[in-house]
């Protein structure tokens, strides 16, 4: 016979009453002041075990008995759930916990680096062109509000560049229906927005030494459009937000987490992959139209020199930099130039 001590709550009022359980064979006697109830052992359920919480028995009369000690009750009463018993075993010791941490880390890293980018591509393809255009124009509008100013390039110059780009976009069906925009933004730059919008700054037009160099920069941006990078980034960011909520949603609100730094670091990682992909697409595009990727290498080198002259080195920014190291990109461009000849 085994004796267990506990407190019984009858379920009628929140009052506890000390009881003793006498377990003998298949019969259990619940002894309290003045009364003894007998139950078959099989009809008493033990809650699914969780480490560090009181063990509770439920008797058929609707009462709950909180046991004083987490003794050998699990052998005596059938706890609910085989899965729970396994989970409890894992949760009780440090070794499985460490294994769980390792598994989570590897699995989540795989999702972030491989699965999300893989999933984002087909989804990005499903997005209607009208929707993309709307997204692009919205972004352009907010740029206009914040930093962009109307172009001051002469009309003829803009027409000439449009003409050059028109020729460069011939026989490129997947980026047909593009839109060229000129803006003044204080720095030589070009970028691509969803809906095949290409924005060129006045400063870039002045910065390049030839049409080939301009086309090299634009080819890179067209590479972004072709691979739907802007949309894919948004989709991948949404995926990261969901993952962050899964991992840490209990601790800090989703709203707080939304601005979290790790997401930014992952963004930088995604961006680097996108930049490399856009470069490759650009080299192929240039080659199709008889422009040497050397022009790309030349303009990149001048970009780098220009930036170095203007800004002191900032190691954090270099780590966060959205572009692969310039030297690497120049090397690849020269490689592409070599092989296209």
């Amino acid at each position: 016979m085994t004796m267990l001590a506990g407190v019984r709550y009858d379920g009628r009022a929140p009052v506890g009453e000390p009881v003793t359980l006498a377990v003998e064979g298949d019969s259990v006697a619940v002894v309290r002041e003045g009364t003894t109830d007998r139950f078959p052992r099989a009809m008493i359920a033990l809650d699914a075990p969780i480490p560090g919480i009181a063990e509770r028995l439920r008797t058929p009369d609707g009462a709950m008995i909180e046991l004083d000690a987490t003794a050998a009750t699990r052998d005596m009463f059938a706890p609910r759930g085989r899965l729970a018993r396994l989970a409890c075993m894992l949760e009780t010791h440090w070794l499985p916990a460490l294994a769980a941490a390792a598994i989570s880390a590897v699995a989540l890293w795989f999702v972030v680096t491989d699965l999300l980018p893989l999933a984002a591509d087909p989804v990005a393809r499903q997005i209607q062109p009208e929707m993309q255009e709307m997204l692009g124009h919205r972004t352009l509008a907010s740029l206009d509000r914040l930093i962009a100013k109307p172009s001051r390039l002469p009309k003829e110059e803009r027409a000439r560049i449009a003409e050059v780009l028109w020729g460069f976009m011939e026989h490129e069906p997947d980026v047909a229906g593009y839109e060229l925009q000129f803006r003044r933004m204080g720095a030589p730059n070009a970028f691509a927005l969803p809906g095949n919008i290409i924005v060129v700054t006045d400063e870039l037009v002045k910065f390049v030494h030839s049409d080939d160099e301009l086309l090299a920069v634009l080819a890179h941006e067209i590479g972004h459009l072709r691979a739907r990078h802007a949309l894919r980034l948004v989709l991948q960011q949404s995926g990261i937000a969901v993952l962050a909520t899964v991992v840490a949603g209990d601790a800090v609100g989703v709203t707080i987490l939304a601005a979290a730094v790790p997401a930014m670091l992952l963004d930088a990682r995604y961006s680097r992959a996108f930049e490399a992909e856009a470069d490759e697409l650009a080299f192929a595009h240039l080659a199709r139209h008889g422009v040497s990727p050397r022009a790309f290498a030349a303009v990149m080198r001048r970009f780098a020199d220009d930036a170095r002259r203007r800004e002191p080195n900032d190691p954090l920014m270099r780590y966060l930099s959205s572009h692969p190291p310039t030297e690497e990109r120049i090397r690849r461009a020269l490689e592409a130039a070599g092989s296209s000849k």
Partner: protein
Amino acid sequence: MSGIDTDAADAAADADTAAAVARDPTRAEVQAAAIVDGDAPAAPGSADHLHPFQFTGRTSVYFRIWIVSLALSVLTLGIYSAWGKVRKKRYLFDHTRVDGSGFEFRGSPAAILRGRIIALVLFGGIALGGHVMIELRLALIAVLILLTPWIAVASARFNARNTFYRNVGFDFDGTLRESIKVFLGFGAIALVTLGLAYPWFRARRARFIAGRHRFGATPFTSDVETGDFVLMYLFSGLALVACVGLFFGAMVIAAVMGGRAEPDAGPPLPAFYAVIVLLYGSYLVIFAFMRARTQNLIANGTVIGPLRLRSTLRTPWLAWLYLTNVLAVIGSIGLATPWAVVRLARYRARTLVLVAAAPLGTLMSAPRGSASATAAEVSDLFDVDVAL
């Protein structure tokens, strides 16, 4: 592109907030509706007995429960997460103690899984549908708004009915009809008045959710004042306006300075970082203020028969907890989550006191076989915890 994204997220967040708010007071009251037994220290000059709440959970144990849940969830593609959630919740409830007894959570993982699938279809549909097609997104948002009253009632019921203290259960008696009146009716008034009536709506909502709970046979009553909510939102609104002003100032600085930098390679300026950090910090403080005030108002306005709650959450301390939690969670790539959960639970328990004017004997469980007890069985499908 971020415009669309934000809109969809806002709508989803709104519905989520509805569910969360429906849950939140529940949690507060759940933790609160403890029943007094035996002799407790009497407050000087009054017949009330004070029973401070206590959180006795340990970070090391909770960490293991959490990490096992995470790993198994990832390995089962999220299915285990419902089981994991129940285990985490049971641990946290058990260690939320008042007068020596913990709470029990008896929710079924299957119901939680069902709720998560519903949430995933709804919110996922909006998030993806919003990117694909505008009409679809609008339709889904409309569906979500219409569903809000149901989500609020279903979640409150699910959480209340699965919470027990000393084997006596909580319940939520709010009906769908009332919920429609509050969320769609009063909500529409808040909308029509361009948010001026929002604090009033918020008070009505709190009164509905908190006031329709029950512990055993004892109904809760909620007497939160609209005026208190007006003051809270007024104060938060002013602070928010100041923050937005700060942000636009920062944008102007960034535009002026950024105009001279080469956007692709130029390092942002330390001043810009400083402004962002400051902005984020003030946002955190406002957030903590609203959280603290809301919970204090709702808890202090709740009466459960002879019992009252006294919640004394303080903004600076809560903001400090949020800040350090966020930093720790980010710095540890999420590993500090259980630590953050435990210290938040500790603080919330430490600031909550049950004030009892009568001993335990006056509270009883609901009679068995009563209408509401039967309804619990019938509406099993109705009871889902819709939350991600």
